[in-house]
């Protein structure tokens, strides 16, 4: 073997690095080669965080499922829940998920007017959701059905309130995203942050689907 052979031999004979197998160009881990785009890595990291958040919510859901019968002689879900209010809340959050998607599309196409319009709409819808929820909580507390009334109400306020807290944080994040795009433009790092924000907002929509089904619709069953 000559030295020329040694130097021309592949440095990665077992394809442990980024695969370049021409036979399976589209198999997982055998993409076009090179490191994955930052968009994919940032998205994956934030996705892991979101899943951990979902696991936390699962804990609260489990607590609610175990405790929903523990009304301690107090009011039950069927007596307390106003499904019309929940339906309006659901509409707000669903539409805000859609307008957040519009903002993503606007970012992709670098249309700042559409971006600001979509983000403002998302903010207004999210804020209406939060206002409706706060009003509902106030009504419950005023009727003597606060979180200290029974195990069922403790679990209810915990799971719904935790989601509401997430929405409030999301609204703050939304405003900072608008400010950052305004000040810095569609820069690569701003786009990473916006990607994380949109994933967060859509994840809140998914958790709300579980929430209105398990807490409100099941709870309102006779």
């Amino acid at each position: 073997m000559t030295t020329a052979d040694v130097f021309s031999a592949p440095r990665d004979p077992y394809k442990l690095g980024h695969g370049h197998e021409p036979s399976r160009p589209h198999a997982p881990g055998h993409g076009e080669g090179g490191p994955a785009p930052t968009r994919v890595i940032v998205g994956f990291g934030f996705w892991i965080f979101l899943l951990s958040d979902v696991v936390m919510f699962a804990g609260f859901f489990a607590a609610y499922a175990v405790l929903h019968g523990g009304t301690a002689g107090g009011p039950t879900g069927a007596q307390l829940f106003d499904l019309r209010n929940t339906a309006i809340e659901t509409a707000c959050l669903l539409l805000s998920s859609f307008t957040c998607g519009l903002a993503s599309a606007a970012v992709g196409a670098r249309r700042s007017t559409l971006f600001y319009f979509a983000m403002t709409t998302t903010f207004l819808l999210g804020a209406s959701f939060l206002a409706l929820e706060v009003r509902e909580f106030e009504g419950l507390v005023a009727r003597g059905a606060g979180p200290t009334r029974s195990a069922f109400l403790s679990a209810f306020f915990t799971v719904v309130g935790c989601h509401g807290l997430h929405v409030a944080v999301g609204l703050l994040w939304l405003l900072t995203m608008m400010a950052q795009v305004h000040a810095k433009g569609f820069r690569a790092d701003i786009l990473s942050r916006f990607l994380c924000f949109s994933l967060f907002w859509h994840a809140l929509g998914i958790i709300w689907v579980a929430l209105f089904t398990v807490v409100y619709l099941w709870g309102a069953q006779p």
């Binding site: 993409g31 930052t38 968009r39 489990a62 998914i206 089904t213 099941w218």
Partner: protein, 130 residues
């Protein structure tokens, strides 16, 4: 390609630090419109189902669960863009693991608490505690 945004040259970026900027506004909006339509239908079905009486009473919670899971799937596919593409494999595996943990947590809690309640009814526990 030497286009710049915000004063950063393409050559200054980390490899692959590039976001899709095809400028196809219509194509990306389309996915969100489909998602909105599908999830609106599913939401309306969820809220309307209990009052219509279309489903046998005791089966309503199961029907609601099915509608909710379908809607979560719609959100995942059309809003979060979870696909089976190669660059999404890790996301999909993480999601599968997350679903496993969530399932174990909720089903396990319910199973254990139901067992506990049938072995020691709540009233008896109270008396024992005294």
């Amino acid at each position: 390609m030497s286009h710049t945004d915000g004063g950063i040259e393409d050559s200054d970026r980390a490899p692959g630090h590039k976001f899709e900027d095809e400028g196809e506004l219509g194509a990306s909006i389309q996915s969100y419109v489909i998602g909105l339509v599908l999830s609106t239908v599913l939401t309306v079905a969820s809220f309307g189902l209990p009052s219509t009486g279309l489903v046998w009473g005791p089966g309503v919670p199961v029907a609601l669960a099915v509608l909710a899971i379908a809607q979560m799937g719609v959100h995942l596919v059309f809003f979060l863009h979870v696909t089976t593409a190669p660059d999404n494999t890790n996301n999909l595996l993480a999601l599968a693991f997350g679903v496993l943990v969530v399932g174990l947590l909720i089903a396990g809690s319910l199973l254990i608490m139901a067992n506990l309640n049938s072995m020691f009814p709540m009233g008896e526990m109270m008396r024992m505690a005294r």
